[in-house]
């Protein structure tokens, strides 16, 4: 009997539950599914919308992947994304070009992660708390800067000045109102890089071994603490890059809509992919499609609030993964 892949079971279970919830909203499951799928993949604009949502999600979850594999509970992607967005906005306006903006974004995110990393590795401060706190700080920072020092010249809107055209990410027009920007190949590249790093370099090997057996790695003479710091910073850099991409590729300016919870959704995606880089694009695509689909559903069927649905599904998916993991553990022990 062929073993059905666990991820598929989990997703289907969560989706089924989701459809039940939708039915309670007065929407027939078949209708709901149709709208969702069409909203996510139906035509070129829909597909582009999905892919646009995929980019920051994928970048953040790639970073989270590295951190989690190294045994570092980095839940600060949201804050690192915002820090990167702010840095990118400032750099974009100042330099007028998108490349320094992206670099600044990555740097901003890396720095935002560096503090909790240092605290965790050198002062044993639990990174769950410190990254969570910094998420809060980043949000307040965003709120302040876009209504203060970084506000656009007319001081009417809570956002940064619009980026000049040269500072916008290059895009490709597939069709009318269906454009893809440079962020997509960047995100895919980042995922490949992360996968390669974790499985094809001693750095990645040591990180993964060190998550469970740090004493072993240290006894082998590998600089585990330094490498874990780099991994954490890399996670922050990728999240910061996500913020930068959103600013230069989508919004064109820094505003409060950047704090949309992508950083948290990325955690769900990474967990759904069970921390494997090869499964990550698909997992992220699922959530991106859900986000795009529910937005379209909302507009189409005049079901206000249906996009909250994506959040509920995120939670359900993680719970399903957790519940499923328990039986997975039993399997593993049976072998030895």
């Amino acid at each position: 009997m062929r073993r059905v892949p666990r991820g598929a079971v989990v997703t289907i279970a969560a989706l089924a539950l989701a459809l039940v919830l939708l039915a309670l909203q007065g929407l027939g499951p078949l209708d709901a599914l149709t709208y969702l799928v069409r909203g996510a993949f139906g035509d070129a604009p829909a597909l582009c919308a999905t892919l646009r949502k995929l980019v920051p999600l994928l970048l953040c979850s790639a970073g989270i992947l590295v951190a989690f594999q190294a045994g570092l509970w980095n839940i600060g992607a949201e804050g690192q994304l915002l820090a990167g967005a702010l840095a990118a906005g400032a750099a974009g306006v100042a330099s007028g070009h998108w490349l320094p903006a992206l670099a600044a974004g990555a740097l901003g995110g890396a720095l935002w992660a560096a503090l909790p990393a240092a605290l965790a590795l050198w002062r044993r401060v639990p990174e769950v708390l410190s990254t969570l706190m910094l998420n809060g700080v980043a949000l307040e920072l965003l709120r302040w800067l876009v209504t203060g020092p970084l506000q656009e010249p007319s001081h009417q809107f809570p956002q940064s000045p619009q980026l000049p055209p040269a500072a916008r990410l290059p895009q490709v027009e597939l069709a009318r109102s269906a454009a893809l920007h440079l962020g997509l190949p960047l995100a895919l590249l980042a995922t490949l890089l992360v996968g390669w790093l974790l499985t094809r370099t001693r750095f990645g090997l040591a990180l993964r071994a060190g998550a469970e057996s740090p004493r072993l790695v240290l006894a082998l003479g590998l600089p585990l603490r330094r490498w874990r710091f780099l991994a954490f910073a890399l996670a922050g850099a990728l999240a910061g890059l996500a913020g930068a991409v959103e600013v230069t590729g989508v919004a064109g300016a820094v505003d409060r809509s950047l704090a949309s919870g992508v950083g948290y959704a990325a955690i769900a995606a990474a967990l759904l992919a069970r921390l494997a880089a090869t499964r990550l694009p698909l997992a992220a695509l699922l959530f991106a499609a859900l986000a795009a689909g529910t937005t379209a559903l909302q507009l189409q069927e005049n079901l206000p609030g249906i996009d909250r649905f994506g959040l509920v599904l995120q939670g359900l998916v993680i719970l399903a993964v957790l519940a499923g993991r328990r039986t997975a553990t039993v399997d593993a022990e049976g072998g030895a």
Binding site: L139, L311, Q314, R326
Partner: protein, 294 residues
Amino acid sequence: MNELAMQAARLALPLVLATLSEVVAERGGVVNLALEGMMLGGALAAWMVAAGGGGAALAPALLAAMLVALLVALLQALFVVRLRADAIVTGAALHFACLGATGLVFERCKRSAGVTTFGELGGAWTHVPWIGTLAIVAAVLAFLHGTRAGLAIRAAGDGPEALRAAGGSPARARTHALLLAGALAGLAGASLTTVLTGTFVEGMTAGRGFLALALVLFARWNPLGALLAGLFLGGLFALELHASTLAATPGGAGVLTFVLRALPYLLCIAALALVGGRPDAAPRALGRPLVDDR
């Protein structure tokens, strides 16, 4: 000045209750990341029951809030205590689910019930929330330190082996802790609706739950500490509201607001960094999943 103090007290209420909730949960050994979600659920439930019902609907509203939060807590207990899933991940999942679910339900109700507000009753009723909260703080203190169930909870979070060796069940004690924490979280959320604003806004907890996670450290896992920490933060929030009148320049108000709002988070990180890891007052088994001894 008096107005500032009163405002501080009002703003402090949900924080006190939320921190109290987390104190109970963490004394039992669980970090409750779903606190924010529970509060939201409680806020929504309270609003739904009380909307348009006048003063008489207050008590049922509070009950409804506790019930909803209890359900979430039950779910969390199932995953964290029974299935031994990671508490952080479970909490995050429940957070998403509650955030989304409350948004969904609110949108639906807004559709069918129309906009309603809930006015505060005047006179003596304005003091009830505070008297109630003080009574609850005292009750939790008495419960934790003066009853067998409270002792079991503290043992589950500090030395589950001792509890098990004595024939108790750390799993049961942890579940109790989570349920009580849930009820308190529901009340915290209800206070947002029934005391502070009189309406429900999506995501109205605005990070207060996460803040409470940090405040527990300042409270040193103590109900009285929760009271003080909550009051302190209420003061900060009240100051922030008055920032524009306090600051000399318009731009200055922005910075001050930012500093005041970011301060709790930064203070927490600073405290963690100074203490370096596990503070002495922390329950020793905090965050550790329970293991069978066989």
